[in-house]
């Protein structure tokens, strides 16, 4: 199958206008000793129907969340996508367009991103937001790079309550760029302000706390903020479960300078974790330092001075700054940002609050039911949103075995990322779990004998 519309006859005629007789003449600039004189070793072409069969077969080898109940969160959250979202997001004028460098014919995308930027500010309470970054982990990296500043040197203090994958990514970038990281361990599932105080100095560039944190616990931001700000550090909050913003105080309210995180769960497919949707929101003083694209509202130069939207403050970006750039991002996650925009418009002011309440109540119901089972204990006494850690009477490997037998996907085994937690599992309950499904999980756990 091929999407090349010109026939061999068309192509021959075109070659002739160039005074060439075959493709070989066109390939003269490539030296013979570089020519691959064999076909690529790839499977032969497939017709559409055959390819569909093949792909359906591969997809069928995956257990998917439409058919299997899951209690997995741990940085990726299942929030139901209303049908209206993909129908609009997948309109091909959005999907097949390029970065809006010619704004006159890209007003649709530009306005949608302006709306996205606005909604990110509305849910976070902060002043400005960019048009998206690759994912939550790299958004965190970008915020740290902003805080550290040009030259790349500085120290970052980060709680181990921040998603372990995000911390691994930060370490990778730290090594490349030259900044250093100091980790502050969590106590009782949250960051202690005393430990933080000991770690933060007058020269710390950034302090990073996740809310809710990776254990699902709600950090005491009112106590943490003054410690984070005792020197010159930028206070960065990482948010991987944005539904929490429906019921929790937004970052602006407790003094965060920058909020970053992952918005993929708003209106987009989970797709094994990618493509994702990193976001960054900040106080207005960081405007000229923001990485990524920014859409601004303006008016036409002439005529009616109609309202219009453009990519603006582009002199921050790599195509102008080149080696003086503080970020290299070019392609981002625009289409997913459009998905999140439509999703938040569809939920609206009350729906967004309701989403938070549903996740909170269902998770707490599950928590009460599970901790009532003999042998199953709450690991932490801290408050939580829609995830909590349970210490089981058996190892998490044994638990996974029970879940497999029962045909469900359980929670996340913390031993995969943290030492000394062999029996601890992180359960997530979002609005997508029914009472029956939660009760089924409890029944499965009931069968687990130490």
């Amino acid at each position: 199958m091929s999407y090349i519309p010109n026939t061999p006859e068309d192509q021959q005629a075109m070659l002739e206008t160039l005074d060439f007789s075959s493709f070989e003449d066109l390939l003269a600039p490539v030296p013979e000793d570089l020519r691959l004189r064999r076909p690529l070793n790839l499977p032969p072409a497939l017709a559409e129907l055959d390819l569909k069969r093949l792909m359906n077969g591969v997809a069928a080898k995956n257990k998917n969340l439409d058919t299997v109940i899951s209690f997995l969160g741990a940085g990726t959250y299942d929030h139901a996508v209303p049908s209206v979202v993909p129908h609009l997001q997948r309109r091909s004028e959005f999907v097949t367009s390029y970065t809006p460098y010619q704004p006159e014919v890209s007003q649709g995308m530009l306005q949608a991103i302006y709306e996205f930027q606005t909604m990110v500010c509305q849910v976070s309470g902060l002043d400005i937001a960019n048009a998206s970054l690759y994912d939550g982990a790299t958004a965190l990296v970008e915020a740290v790079l902003l805080a550290v500043g040009p030259g790349g040197r500085g120290e970052v203090v980060i709680s181990t309550g921040v998603d372990p994958q995000y911390r691994r990514v930060l370490h990778t970038y730290a090594h490349a760029r030259g900044f250093s990281i100091k980790e502050v361990p969590a106590r009782n599932g949250v960051t202690s302000s005393e430990d933080l105080d000991a770690a933060v100095s007058a020269t710390t560039s950034a302090v990073v706390i996740q809310q809710p944190n990776f254990f699902g616990c709600i950090e005491d931001m009112r106590a943490i903020e003054p410690v984070a700000h005792k020197g010159k550090a930028v206070f960065i909050v990482n948010i991987t479960e944005p539904a929490s913003l429906g019921v929790l105080a937004p970052p602006a309210e407790y003094g965060a300078d920058i909020a970053v995180g992952e918005l993929m769960s708003f209106g987009n497919t989970m797709s094994y974790g990618g493509p994702a949707l990193g976001f960054m929101a900040a106080r207005s003083k960081y405007m000229r330092l923001m990485p990524g694209r920014l859409v601004g509202q303006t008016v036409e130069e002439g005529g009616n001075k109609q309202t219009g939207y453009v990519l603006t403050l582009q002199t921050r970006e790599q195509h102008i700054r080149r080696e003086r750039a503080t970020s290299n991002i070019c392609t981002n996650q625009a289409l997913l940002a459009v998905g999140a925009t439509i999703y938040l418009a569809a939920l609206g002011k009350h729906g967004f609050r309701e989403l938070g309440e549903l996740c909170l109540q269902k998770a707490h119901y599950a928590f009460r039911q599970i901790t009532a089972l003999p042998g199953f204990k709450a690991k932490f006494s801290s408050s939580f949103f829609d995830e909590f850690v349970i210490t089981a009477p058996v190892s998490t490997q044994r638990l996974q075995h029970h879940f497999e037998q029962a045909g469900i996907i359980g929670g996340y085994a913390l031993s995969d990322s943290y030492p000394g937690m062999p029996n601890d599992m992180l359960f997530c309950v979002t609005e997508t779990r029914t009472k029956e499904e939660i009760d089924y999980l409890v029944d499965v756990l009931k069968e687990v004998q130490a």
């Binding site: 000229r288 582009q314 002199t315 102008i320 700054r321 003086r324």
Partner: protein
């Protein structure tokens, strides 16, 4: 190049700044050529706070247009006496009147001999031809 204006009574640096000398004080800005190259100026970083100083051939600020950013390099050393606050809200004054309302700093010079390293208007015009 014909449409650009470089007044004869000023001195010019290789990095496209101009200086107007008045006793021991120097007013500094960027040339018509510079503003033309930059295009519509949108933002400036200048030493807005009182008591700042500048150093010959060192950066004293940044200037940003729609399509470019550039460093501002001081043609002389000294204490900053005044900064043109109007440029905060109206950076376009630099495009319209680079030598009048578009002035950036008034500096009390600490080493007037540095003026000898600057170019006359004719020398600057010749320098532009060669670029």
């Amino acid at each position: 190049m014909a449409n650009l204006n470089h007044p004869a009574n000023l001195k010019y640096s290789k990095t496209d700044e101009w200086v107007r000398v008045d006793g021991d004080q120097a007013t500094v800005g960027i040339t018509d050529y510079a503003q033309d190259q930059l295009g519509d100026i949108v933002y400036l970083e200048l030493p807005w706070d009182a008591g700042a100083s500048v150093t010959h051939e060192e950066k004293f600020g940044d200037i940003e247009s729609v399509k470019a950013t550039s460093e501002l390099i001081s043609p002389i050393s000294g204490e900053v006496v005044t900064v043109n606050e109007a440029l905060k809200d109206q950076p376009e004054l630099i495009n319209d009147k680079p030598y009048e309302e578009g002035w950036m700093l008034v500096v009390k010079m600490t080493n007037p001999a540095e003026l000898d390293s600057l170019m006359s208007a004719d020398a600057y015009k010749a320098y532009l031809q060669g670029r």
